[in-house]
Symmetry: C2
Subunit: 371 residues, 2 copies
C-alpha cells in the first residue's frame, strides 16, 4: 500500500481547491484539463484532454487509482465505460445521474419518500401545476442557467419547442430561504454532514453563505441533515454532495443535488476541522471520514464575481489591512462579468460584523466601492 | 499590478507548505530544486538547478518578482550578487547572515542588548567558560548537527583541529525548557508574533510542540515576544523568523535564530488564522500581515520521523478512525531513520488529550506501536 493517485475530471476551482488537502495528505492528484491554463492545471499535475472522449478519459485513468469529477458534464457513457473496464470511479454512474438529470432526481426523491415540490415532466400537452411555475432543462444547468420562471401555458409550450427536450416543471415555492447541507459518504457507508448553510442567491447565483443557518430551529436543522443522509444512503453516494433545500415555514423541500464539492461548502476550508475537499478525497479513497466540527461560532463566505475591476491583486493592500483575519481564495480565472473568480471567508463570533466585512470585501473586489 | 511570482530557493517541505497559501492567494510560486523529486518540486512549478551556482540562481530569478529561501545554505556571495543586480531578495543578505553564522548572531544580540548566554569565539588557546560547555560550528548546523557538548579543554582543542574553523563556544545552561517565538516583519516595518511555542527536543531534534507554552507566566510570554520583535527590527528582518529561547527560571536566553518558516511554527497552519507560510509570503510581498490569533485554546504538533515503517499511507486507516480531528502533513520524502517526513497537528481545549493523541499518532507512524 502506498500513497494513491486521484484523477479529477475537470480542472476548475473545485479541482484546484482539492489539490490542497491532497498535498497535505501526501496523495497524488492529477487533473484532466481542457487547457493548461485552467484554474487547477496552473498548479497541479495535469493532462490536457477532452472529457467527452472515451479514449482520452481511459488513457487519463490508466495513471490513476481512482477517478472523480468536479463538474456534471461528463457523459454517462464515458463513466459507464470506465466502470465496465474496471476503473474505480466515484461517485458511481448510477449515483452521479441524480446530479446530472433533474427528472431522474425528482423520481428518486419520490421513491425515497423525501420532500419534493409538486413536479411533473412537461413534453407538450397540459400541466397540473399552477402558473407561474418553474421550468428546468433536465441537464446541464447550474447557477440559474436552464431554470425559467414561466407565467403561462403558451410560454411553457414555446420554451419546450425552443429547447426541444422534455422539461421538468415544478411549483414556484414562496420559500423563506434556501439552505444547503453538505454530506459525505464512503463506499463502506460511513457518512457525515456539516452544519447546514444559508445560501444567499442573487439572480440565481450564490453570492454569499452563512454557516450555520441563523434562526433555523433545532428541529429543522436535524431534519435537513436527516434528509441529506437519507439521500446519500438512498443513491449510494460516494464522495461529497450538496443538498439544496428550500425552507418554507416549518417545511423543507428539496431543490437540487450536486454530487461534488460545492460553492455552499467553501466555508469549510477554514471553518471546519475537515473541509469538503479533504472529505471528498477521504470518501473516494474509502478512508475514515474526518471531523466536521466547526472551528468557530460562525463562518461567512462571499463569492468574488467578475466585474469591472481586472486586477485582483492590488485590492489586497486595502483588504488585508482592514480585515487581518480575512481569508482569500483566488481561482486565477480570467475576469468575466458575473463569473466566480474567487471567494473570501471570515470566521468569528459576531455574525453582523462578519457579514459587514465580507460584504465590504466583495464590493471592493468587484469595484462597487470605488478606490 | 498583477499577481506576482515568488521564487523559493530550496524545494523541501517548507517550500511545499508555502505553496498552499500561495495557491489560495493566487500568487505564483516556483521553486529552485536540486531534483524534480524534491518534496516541493513534486507539487510546484520548479526549476532544477544548483543554488550555489550564481548563474543558475540568476537565471531562476529572472522569472520571479521576489526571491526567498527555505534553508540557510545559500552562499552569501550568491545572495549579494542577486541584490547587486537589483533582484528583490528577502530576507536581505545582511539579515540572513544571522541565520547563517552563529558567531555573527551572538555579536548582534550583544549589540542589541538582548540576552545571550556567556559565549566566546574559540580559535585555540584558553576559554573563560566553564566545562562542560557547548561548542558549535558557526555555520551549516541544524537539528543538533554541528552542536557538541565538550567536557575539557583537550577535547575542545581536538574538536577545533578536526573542524578547522573558529568555533562558537557557549555556557551549557541548565534550562527548564526551550521555547520558540515566531515573528514576521515586512519591508515597511509592520511586525507580528504568534503565541510562543514549547519545543520538545529529543536528541537535538524537535519532536513535538505545544502552543501556547503551558505554565509560561504572562511576564515571560510578553518578554519573549518583545525579544522576537526587537531582533526582527534590529536585524531588519523581512519574512518570518523563529527565535529559539531557553527558559531558565525567570530568565530568557536566546539560543538560535532561523530566518525562514520553521518546524516550531507548523502548528500555525491549522492553529492560527494566518499560518507562518502565508505570513512569510505576505511579508516578502510587503502586503499587510494577517491575524496571528489562535483558532483554538491549544495546538499540539508532532513530527513524524522516519523509522522502520516504510508505508505512511496505510496508517491512515487506523489514525483517521481513532482521531477524526487529526490533521496530517506528509512531505513525500523518502523514509530515512530520523528524517522529518511529515507532521501531525491537533487543536482543542484539553491539552492532555491532545498530547496523548499526538503521541499515539507519532508512535504508530514510526512503528513504535505494533499494528
Amino acid at each position: 500500500m502506498t500513497f494513491p493517485t486521484v484523477g479529477v475530471i475537470g480542472a476548475g476551482q473545485l479541482a484546484r481547491m482539492m489539490a490542497v488537502p491532497a498535498n497535505d495528505l501526501g496523495i497524488n492528484l492529477v487533473v484532466l484539463a481542457d487547457s493548461a491554463k485552467d484554474s487547477a492545471a496552473q498548479i497541479c499535475s495535469h493532462v490536457v484532454g477532452d472529457y467527452r472522449n472515451i479514449e482520452a478519459v481511459l488513457a487519463f485513468a490508466k495513471g490513476c487509482d481512482v477517478i472523480t469529477f468536479e463538474h456534471e458534464l461528463i457523459p454517462q457513457p464515458v463513466i459507464k465505460e470506465l466502470e465496465r473496464q474496471g476503473v474505480k470511479v466515484y461517485p458511481r454512474s448510477e449515483s452521479f445521474i441524480y446530479s446530472q438529470n433533474k427528472i431522474q432526481m425528482r423520481k428518486k426523491m419520490d421513491e425515497l419518500g423525501l420532500p419534493n415540490p409538486k413536479w411533473q415532466v412537461f413534453d407538450g400537452g397540459g400541466t397540473e401545476i399552477a402558473f407561474p411555475l418553474i421550468a428546468k432543462t433536465p441537464s446541464g444547468g447550474y447557477d440559474g442557467r436552464g431554470v425559467y420562471v414561466v407565467d403561462s401555458l403558451a410560454q411553457l409550450s414555446e420554451l419546450h419547442k425552443q429547447i426541444g427536450v422534455p422539461l421538468l416543471i415544478e411549483e414556484k415555492l414562496k420559500f423563506d430561504y434556501e439552505i444547503s447541507v453538505m454530506v459525505a459518504r464512503s463506499p463502506h457507508g460511513q457518512a457525515a454532514t456539516w452544519s447546514p448553510t444559508l445560501t444567499v442567491q442573487t439572480d440565481g447565483i450564490c453570492t454569499s453563505t452563512v454557516t450555520p443557518v441563523p434562526h433555523l430551529s433545532k428541529e429543522l436543522l436535524v431534519r435537513s441533515q436527516e434528509i441529506a443522509l437519507a439521500i446519500a444512503s438512498g443513491i449510494s453516494l460516494v464522495g461529497v454532495m450538496a443538498v439544496e433545500i428550500f425552507v418554507v415555514g416549518e417545511i423543507l423541500v428539496i431543490n437540487e443535488l450536486a454530487l461534488r464539492p460545492h460553492n455552499s461548502g467553501h466555508w469549510s476550508i477554514e471553518g471546519s476541522v475537515t473541509s469538503q475537499f479533504e472529505q471528498h478525497l477521504r470518501a473516494i479513497l474509502d478512508l475514515p471520514l474526518g471531523s466536521t466540527q466547526m472551528r468557530s461560532r460562525w463562518a461567512v463566505m462571499g463569492n468574488i464575481l467578475g466585474a469591472e475591476k481586472a486586477d485582483m491583486y492590488r485590492p489586497f493592500l486595502h483588504l488585508m489591512a482592514r480585515t487581518p483575519a480575512l481569508k482569500f481564495h483566488h481561482y486565477r480565472k480570467d475576469v468575466r462579468p458575473g463569473r466566480k473568480i474567487g471567494h473570501v471567508t471570515l470566521l468569528g463570533d459576531d455574525l453582523l460584523e462578519l457579514e459587514e466585512e465580507i460584504g465590504h470585501a466583495v464590493d471592493y473586489l468587484s469595484g462597487a466601492i470605488d478606490e
